[in-house]
């Protein structure tokens, strides 16, 4: 039977097993919305701004094993989605974003609500398509999902002109897809794995440095087995938190600019770095010249371009983390060799000394609410088992440092692009993917205002997210840099004229709370968690002057941290 392009679109989503999409209608996608109206398999979540749709799709993808899907109209719909698409690109989030386009005959004529979506998104997508003929629609959608979810995941944009959604064609969904130009390597080279095993077993001061690739590969189990088998210390990047249980003794915390003393010193003094699905970002390496001066480096990554991009590595292994780690474990087990126990013991002794510096300590006797304290209590009250999203700033770093994630895919944040406004819409996506679970978002009074309109979406879809607003009346992260590096000239970082967040939450139909004393923190959190089916906005009035420590200033090496 012949279907319209819009109907084909909906059938394709169904074939891909898509149950939720996030979107916003407009002229160019009206046929599609009409087709969505006439079916029941796909739930459409109406956001309040297209940036929110894409972040929600990211949250959905990051907290599940399925890609996120967003749908926006042409022109302003597509441009509003750009920040989200760029965010997904930087953090390798599997996403398919559909955008409406003007009629094929009008393309290039500066038609109403026309932008060159494929052109604008080209540098921030894994791939994109313009569908010019309804005959190609189903196959293109199949390819889009395939490209987005395989290899190094990423966002794929499919731009669909309005006439293509009206034209008719026989619907047949391709079972498989083959692209001669796209064949990601997933299986690691055995010779390289053997070389890596040699180095791993010979190391005296090893450090496992794992990142977002482990989360994306769902390889947390394999990573944990690998690390426990060897007894080596392990650090995670911001994007990798939760891949290895944070409460385990072998975990030395996050590394990098705001990482722990023990993690950064461990990296600096290590003789072997085992990099697993991490991309040597500048927030991690600090000054490249001073990075890991004594170490050989093994690097497992599915994207050859991530390898030796910033730091030259000794043993590259291109492949999927999960498969490669399993092969490595097998190889190490078969050799029956053991790392040098006394060297390892001495190394651990050194690490424990660094750990004893207690670099995350803060003033627990303050009369003001310390942001760290709120996160510690949040961790306790939620038993460390909530899904937590965050915005960008100090609150993000405090959450990374103090919420000890023991499970993967529970920590959802914007690392590569660092997008303020990410947290709330991402939490919506997480809640849609995990309807029965507790979802919290930690934010700041500046970040939350970037996508605050989504509080309305949360009401419409009854998403009982717990918003933890660490309200320091400053763009704290900016203020901190101004304090350290601009002699306290706080240019434009004071958040004046703040709304009353309690009233604002209530105006949106939610519960609002203001918490001003440390003694009230725990009680408020408990009370909020009890309101299981309500969104609760907790406005914590925190210490204005608190800074994130430790900190590696720009240009410094990992061993040159500012401690408290």
């Amino acid at each position: 039977m012949e279907l319209t392009g819009a109907e084909i679109f909906v059938r394709c989503l169904k074939e891909e097993g898509v149950d939720v999409i996030f979107g916003y209608p407009g002229g160019a996608v009206l046929h599609i919305y009409d087709a969505l109206y006439r079916q029941k398999d796909v739930t459409h979540v109406l956001v309040r701004h297209e940036q929110g749709a894409v972040h929600a799709a990211e949250g959905y993808a990051k907290s599940s094993d399925r890609p996120g899907v967003a749908l926006v109209t042409s022109g302003p719909g597509a441009t509003n989605a750009i920040t989200g698409i760029a965010d997904a690109y930087m953090d390798s989030v599997p996403l398919v974003v559909f955008s409406g386009q003007v009629n094929t005959a009008l393309i290039g004529n500066d038609a109403f609500q026309e932008v060159d979506t494929v052109g604008i998104t080209r540098p921030i997508v894994k791939h994109n398509f313009l569908v010019k003929d309804v005959k190609d629609l189903a196959e293109t959608i199949k390819k889009a999902f395939y490209v987005a979810t395989t290899g190094r995941p990423g966002p794929v944009v499919v731009d669909i002109p309005k006439d293509v959604t009206a034209d008719k064609f026989e619907f047949k969904y391709p079972r498989t897809v083959k692209m001669r130009s796209y064949n990601p390597t997933v299986k690691g080279h055995l010779g390289q794995i053997k070389k890596a095993a040699d180095l791993i077993l010979a190391a005296e001061k090893p450090m496992v440095y794992s990142g977002g690739g482990v989360i994306l590969s769902h390889a947390s189990k394999a990573l944990t087995e690998f690390t426990r088998l060897l007894g080596y210390p392990i650090t995670n990047t911001l994007m990798g938190l939760g891949a290895y249980p944070a409460t385990d003794r072998q975990f030395v915390g996050m590394l990098g600019m705001h990482g722990t003393y023990e993690a950064n010193m461990g990296m600096h003094h290590a003789d072997l770095i085992i990099a697993v699905g991490a991309r040597f970002d500048d927030r991690v390496t600090g000054n490249i010249e001073k990075f890991c001066p004594h170490a050989k480096i093994v690097h497992i990554d599915i994207d050859p371009a991530s390898i030796s991009k910033n730091v030259k590595v000794d043993v590259p292994i291109v492949g999927d983390v999960d498969r490669v780690l399993k092969e490595l474990v097998k190889e190490i087990r078969e050799r029956k060799g053991k790392p040098d126990a006394s060297a390892l013991e001495a190394w651990w002794q050194q690490i424990e000394e660094w750990r004893a510096m207690d670099c995350l300590k803060y003033d627990r006797d303050s009369d003001l609410i310390k942001p760290q304290y709120v996160i510690e209590k949040l961790w306790e009250v939620t038993k460390g088992d909530a899904f937590v999203t965050s915005d960008v700033g100090q609150h993000q770093m405090f959450t990374a440092q103090f919420y000890k994630f023991d499970k993967p895919n529970r920590w959802i944040n914007s690392g590569g692009l660092g997008t303020m406004g990410f947290g709330l819409p991402a939490a919506m996506g997480v809640q849609m993917a995990n309807p029965k679970d507790l979802v919290c978002t930690v934010t700041g009074e500046a970040s939350i205002q970037m996508c605050i309109q989504e509080l309305s979406t949360c009401l419409q879809y009854q998403l009982p997210i717990k918003v933890v607003n660490l309200n320091n009346r400053y763009m704290g992260m900016v203020r901190q840099w101004q304090e350290f590096f601009y002699q306290g000239r706080y240019a434009m970082s004071y958040m004046d004229a703040l709304p009353d967040f309690v009233k604002l939450a209530e105006a949106y139909g939610h519960v609002g709370m203001r918490i001003e004393k440390p003694a009230d923190v725990e009680g408020a959190l408990k009370e909020a968690m009890k309101l299981k089916d309500r969104l609760v906005f907790m406005d914590f009035i925190t210490d204005q002057g608190e800074n994130v420590y430790p900190m590696i200033p720009a240009g410094a090496g990992q061993n040159e941290m500012i401690l408290v």
């Binding site: 494929v118 052109g119 080209r122 540098p123 894994k126 791939h127 313009l130 490209v147 692209m179 001669r180 130009s181 796209y182 994207d303 050859p304 371009a305 030796s308 991009k309 030259k312």
Partner: protein, 163 residues
């Protein structure tokens, strides 16, 4: 170092801008770029001349390979290869100049492809160096226009970039 990178890429609209965009976005240097469909009309062949340290060239080839439309890639500089560029030059040629220019064209094994009362148009192929040398040799004449194709190349022997 200078590298000549040949790419087979899906012959689709936008493929060229993906490559060009990659170079500008990542700040890679691009000296010349030629592109045309191959005997298989679904594929285009692109030849890129670029410069960079080994590390940069490694990133360039990896990033190019990562483009979903790129089917295959070869760094010709890693093989024995033939490199050619074509040039059309319009030069003023009047009176005694006409013999002078003709002689130069013969020395360089070029061809005069258009003759007008006051000008010659010369076609010349060869390596970039040879084309440069011809331009230098024309010093005494007035050059009205120069068109160069950019470099194309192919490996020697049985090494072939095909799918």
């Amino acid at each position: 170092m200078r590298h000549i990178i040949s790419i087979l890429i899906e012959n689709e609209s936008g493929a060229l801008s993906r490559v060009a965009g990659l170079f500008s976005a990542r700040g890679y240097n691009i000296e010349s770029l030629t592109v045309a469909p191959t005997d298989d009309p679904t594929l285009s062949r692109m030849t890129l001349v670029t410069r960079g340290s080994d590390q940069i060239i490694e990133q360039i080839t990896k990033q190019l390979n990562k483009l979903v439309d790129v089917v295959k890639l070869m760094d010709l500089t890693e093989h024995r290869h033939i490199e050619r560029e074509m040039m059309l030059v319009k030069v003023k040629a009047q009176g005694t100049e006409r013999d002078e220019v003709k002689r130069l064209v013969d020395i360089f094994r070029g061809r005069i492809v258009d003759v007008a009362a006051t000008t010659y148009t010369v076609e010349l192929t060869g390596t970039g160096d040879k084309l440069d040398a011809f331009i230098t040799a024309l010093e005494g004449s007035v050059i009205l226009e120069v068109v160069r194709s950019g470099v194309m190349g192919i490996a020697r022997g049985d090494v072939a970039l095909k799918i």
